[in-house]
């Protein structure tokens, strides 16, 4: 399992590996937003949590198709299934690598982008916390979607349609937690619900994704 994680991390940072694509996309969305809305700092800081969350979600979506497609095409997935590694841990490794190469960089870049959107330093912490708890859910749900469309050529459209509704609870609780924090309300409930979504997804979806992959490989 560790070998798989290391290999996938290596592939993702090599040429054409897709690392940085989501990050650049996220960056572009958040940079364009102030230009489009105008220099009204008050308004900007109001829409900032929503913008950052939608940006993170779309950036995440962009890289989902790669999770299984490449391994499916070159036969690696067949070989992994016949190895002694359980398919569930293959799914977990894939989701973890996706989070490490997409979710984590997004969280790390958020403080800088928060400044662009006119957020106070003390408020950025709420965004970071909500993204740290929320992005793992985005990764594992996305991995499940990628498993569903693994056998399809150009399954990207279907993947987006399948995954978007599943992303909605994470988006609602995540953006809500950040917004409430910034406006000075207590955030405990939203953050606990967000964490709940993440933990539940990580507990259930690896099994679902593994059984879907088995069917797709037939």
């Amino acid at each position: 399992m560790i070998a798989l994680i290391i290999r996938d991390l290596r592939i993702s940072v090599r040429a054409g590996g897709g690392f940085g694509l989501s990050l650049a996309f996220f960056f572009i969305i958040v940079i364009f937003f102030p230009f489009a809305i105008g220099p009204d700092l008050d308004l900007l800081s109001k829409v900032a949590p929503g913008t950052l969350w939608v940006g993170a979600l779309l950036a995440c979506l962009l890289s989902l198709e790669r999770i299984f497609a490449l391994d499916f095409e070159d036969g690696t997935l067949d070989l992994l299934v016949t190895s002694s590694l359980p398919l569930e841990s293959v799914v977990i490794s894939k989701a973890l690598v996706h989070w490490l190469t997409t979710g984590l960089p997004l969280v790390l870049i958020t403080p800088f982008l928060g400044i662009l959107l006119g957020l106070q330093n003390s408020n950025i912490i709420f965004l970071i916390i909500s993204l740290i708890f929320g992005t793992p859910a985005l990764s594992i749900i996305g991995t499940f979607g990628a498993a569903l469309t693994a056998g399809m050529k150009r399954g990207g459209l279907l993947l987006s349609i399948l995954v978007l509704p599943l992303y909605i609870p994470t988006l609602i609780f995540g953006a809500e937690a950040a917004r409430r924090g910034i406006q000075g309300f207590e955030t405990q409930n939203s953050i606990l619900l967000l964490l709940g979504v993440s933990l539940l997804s990580w507990a259930i979806l690896p099994f679902a994704a593994a059984s879907v992959l088995r069917i797709n490989l037939r």
Partner: protein, 206 residues
Amino acid sequence: MAISIESLSVSRGGVNLLQGVDIELKNGQAGILRGPNGVGKTTLLRALAGLQPVETGTIKCSLDDICYSGHADGVKPTLTVQENLEFWANIFGSPSISEVAEKFMITDLLNSKVGNLSAGQKRRVGLARLGLTGRQIWLLDEPTVSLDETSVKILGNIIKDHLLEDGCALIATHIDLGLENKAQIIDLSKYKATSGKLSNSNEAFL
């Protein structure tokens, strides 16, 4: 008995391909699957590897002993040969790749990226995985594709060595690997299914 298959039927895409297949292979024995394109060689091998369900019949062999090698090599173009082999060695828990690399004549290539290799060299890297698994039953699907004559001979010798070590191999190929008396030729066209479509197939919904 390493592999024992009794009255096996397999299908692909809702169409019956083979029925009543009986194959028995002892340790140290190889089976060569013959038959025209589309007869079901790949499907049979995939069913044996547990990658696809069987319709009827029984397969007696331990899934943990099986090493499957399909049309695709499962090597990553952006990694070096060494990194690719190390990955599979770690997955299967075998320590040394240098010995295997020597056997398959890819020692010189260890530091090149797989993306820069020729098709035949890439194939050899893919096949080197066989030596890393340490598993007894090799299921090889057209292993000689894009290999030159020398490489085919080397592959033949590697399979022979494997058989001498009490291993066992089931190979779908049209090319003579020089296994002679150790190989049992199995012509799959005599097992061709008579009825076409499956009656209770829900494959379209999967």
